[in-house]
Symmetry: C2
Subunit: 486 residues, 2 copies
């Protein structure tokens, strides 16, 4: 197998994923990473994360949120203040018992999430209704000890943002939770080119300590679901546990209503699995660290000089147009090797410049999303920037369209037929069905077919109607997606 | 004492600092922060850190460095591979002994710095001379357990960037270490308005495991020195400990030469202490989260409507000009309170708009760096953006000039007079003197006057000459700065 060949996606999706994250140089080989279950994110992977961060951070700031930073350590006692919360996180904690050569009086945990320590700060920072809403966000590393890990999807340490807000009323907190869900969906669709379904988690699947959890659910290339972002209305649970209260306009003491919401390095896993193919990654142009790679082609020094002169002229134009590009000047590998290499890394557009292009004043543009001749066009060097911009826009749309068509062909509405429901899920697709949401019903599906409800979509297909719960048959008023999931 | 009054800087610099970091809302009150020695960085402080990050990150990328991310955990055995390194950091380590409900086979430490885990990765990533130079940087939190902590200056957890590079030769590593020192100095001088001296650390003061450590040293408002950034030529110490080697062009195996360099949230402490005054922070315009604050002044609803109309017009112009501004619309406090409040936060320029300004088409501009009438000018609303830009540039220059003059008046060249040398340092100023650099000589100064050498400045005042070491009297060829320090 050549250096860049990978197991075909259709043959073994999981092997494909594990190979591709390493071969595209997103992460260091997990088997050789010295801290079990933690990622080493290589520069190319980190650049992709920086693009995700930037796209989200701009949206947070535009809606009035401010960044802050809280300690990586959380006193064990803090976690215990919210009963569901500690129960949810206890099995995953990393515990610091010694510091500065001494055993600590109270052990610290490394933050698995920061609701508790931020809740404690909010209780000090908020006094009056004038201090509300408080709209915080934190970019940080968090640790949840995991037994089975996979780069980006499930790692003992990961990077994320966690928003934490406090409000005067339930309605405001609910509006905030929905606003952030909308922002996540907007980012996923318009930047990551991943069509997502906004929905509410069942009581079993909601965040430990939340009143209601919302999710954006995406379909991966193997049909499995992935939760790409979550937003929680925490009600007054944390406000009561941490005494986050304010005096209202009538000078009466009230508990706040809080929310939290997060997107993590998991988003990168989603981008890989939503768009990748047998040749490697396919990155959406808006997030790609390198949008355009230029490959000079020549056989002798005279040709090289001429070709590189054109490459440099186009390079200056790309730079001027704010397009992220790279010129692959390697002498030790062939142009063909370079094509495969940059296809593996998912660069959306390749420009080839050879002696014939010098002669004709042309450039060859090859799209990553359309293989072979169909994705290739020869353009006049004079209009190359316009063509590049146009093509990048077309690639961005096409990735979204392909992912949408892929998903829509694999989700099925099922009413009352548990057999068919099971077959759909066993077949690696999604079922949308009436669901009561009870713990018993959810447990039965889990046992029967190793799937859980992904969400009750906010946009219900039959609003105002009722139908039979797929498990219990009792009439119920909401449909839920079920699928196997990451 | 009013809410915003602070202990005068001249009376008790330390108390002034401790009060100001809280009252300017850079950090949460350390006494109420639940994790001893760790900071909660509040939004205003974090925005300042974001400006520092952005200024540095741009410079790193422009010089070919790429960001990556390595695990927060480091196997204890890694630290032990480089003898000086583990000795230097052992007393400050935080140790994780339990993860996922079990005791770990090998304890992990929370990274105090990442030379070891990055060295281990480099040993895998570098094979051939073609892989060199490898120019990495990481933005991360690190932990060094401290007994006595102060926000930004010394905290058990802090935020920083750590650059780690590998090169084929000593000369290239040395050039990299110097390049990064230059970048730090450029940032400090031109963005933070802090004049810094570039120099080399004595053997006693150099980084644990380095061949040579370089520093930028700044003078704070109390005359003490602060190391605002460091750059290390690590020689082949880590390369040998972690087997970071490459095959050269002759196919022979060679060890690499590595460097590391870092700037931390300490830079914020430097900005506070280099520029602050009795009224609060004074932020350099290039880094200030808010460059301009507008205060509308009115006594009734008619005036309010007129004044706010002008404020909004100017606001749109400021926005268009890319100036970071805030309009203080609070109704519950007086304009005078607002002036004090924004002076405390160090906003470089205030614009006051009152009924008379509406009438005359004027605006009052008040500089933070020049108190009272001297710092105030009335300008025509038609040219307000030009005047704002001009004034922000003037403030940036003035802060640098003031800090430079302050420092230059407090550094003194001393030759051979240990008595005078001691008096200068005891008096809270800097002495530049011939110094042999020996451990014994350094220890004596430390014992006598609680000061250490800050650096041998790269720009020596008497190059090629020799003079008597201030401690031993033996002839020596370099002068060093001595001062008490943070």
């Amino acid at each position: 197998m050549s250096e860049l060949a990978v197991t075909p996606r259709s043959q073994d999706f999981s092997a494909w994923y594990n190979e591709i994250v390493v071969k595209a140089e997103l992460v260091d080989n997990p088997e050789r990473t010295p801290v079990r279950g933690c990622m080493i994110i290589k520069p190319y992977g980190y650049e992709l994360w920086e693009a995700v961060k930037s796209g989200l951070d701009q949206r947070f700031k535009a809606t009035g949120h401010v960044n802050a930073y809280f300690p990586v350590f959380i006193p064990m006692s803090f976690l215990q203040k919210e009963a569901e919360h500690v129960e949810g996180f206890a099995p995953e904690l990393a515990v610091v018992t010694h510091g500065g050569g001494k055993e600590l009086e109270e052990p610290y945990v490394i933050r698995p999430t920061s609701e508790t320590i931020i809740g404690d700060a909010m209780s000090r920072w908020i006094q009056s209704y004038r201090d509300l809403p408080l709209l915080l966000n934190q970019w940080a590393n968090v640790v949840r000890w995991e037994k089975r890990t996979r780069p980006f999807l499930r790692t003992s340490e990961f990077l994320w943002q966690e928003g934490h807000t406090a409000h005067a009323t339930y309605d405001e907190a609910q509006a905030e939770a929905m606003q952030m869900l909308d922002i996540y969906a907007d980012f996923a669709i318009n930047e990551a080119a991943i069509p997502v379904i906004k929905g509410q988690k069942s009581n079993q699947e909601r965040f430990a300590g939340a009143l209601a959890s919302y999710t954006i659910e995406a379909m991966m290339g193997d049909g499995k679901a992935l939760q790409a972002g979550t937003s929680h209305n925490l009600g007054q649970n944390f406000a009561k546990a941490f005494d986050i209260s304010y005096t209202d306009i009538n000078n009466e003491l009230q508990y706040c209503w809080t929310t939290s919401w997060g997107v993590s390095t998991r988003m990168i896993g989603a981008i890989i699995m939503a768009h990748g193919d047998d040749q490697g990654l396919r990155l959406p142009p808006r997030l790609a660290p390198i949008q355009v790679v230029m490959i000079p082609i020549y056989k002798n020094d005279d040709q090289k000089a001429e070709v590189l002169a054109v490459v440099e002229t186009i390079g200056r134009q790309l730079q001027g147009a704010g397009i992220r590009f790279h010129v692959d000047r390697r002498e030790s590998v062939s142009p063909g090797f370079k094509y495969n290499d940059w296809e593996m890394r998912g660069v959306p557009l390749r420009i080839e410049i050879g002696p014939k292009d010098v002669e004709k004043g042309s450039a060859a543009l090859a799209r990553r999303d359309i293989p072979g001749r169909d994705g290739k066009q020869f353009v006049d060097q004079a209009v190359v920037i316009d063509k590049v911009n146009e093509t990048l826009t077309a690639i961005q749309s096409n990735l979204l369209q392909q992912a949408t068509e892929f998903r829509d062909a694999r989700r099925h509405e099922v009413v009352g037929d548990y057999q068919r429901f099971s077959e759909i899920i066993r077949g690696g697709e999604w079922a949308l069905t009436w669901f009561s949401g009870s713990a018993e019903a959810e447990a039965r599906v889990k046992e029967d077919i190793q799937a859980v409800s992904r969400c009750f979509p906010l946009e219900q297909p039959h609003p105002g109607e009722t139908g039979p719960c797929i498990v219990t048959g009792e009439p119920t008023d909401r449909m839920a997606y079920f699928a196997r999931a990451y």
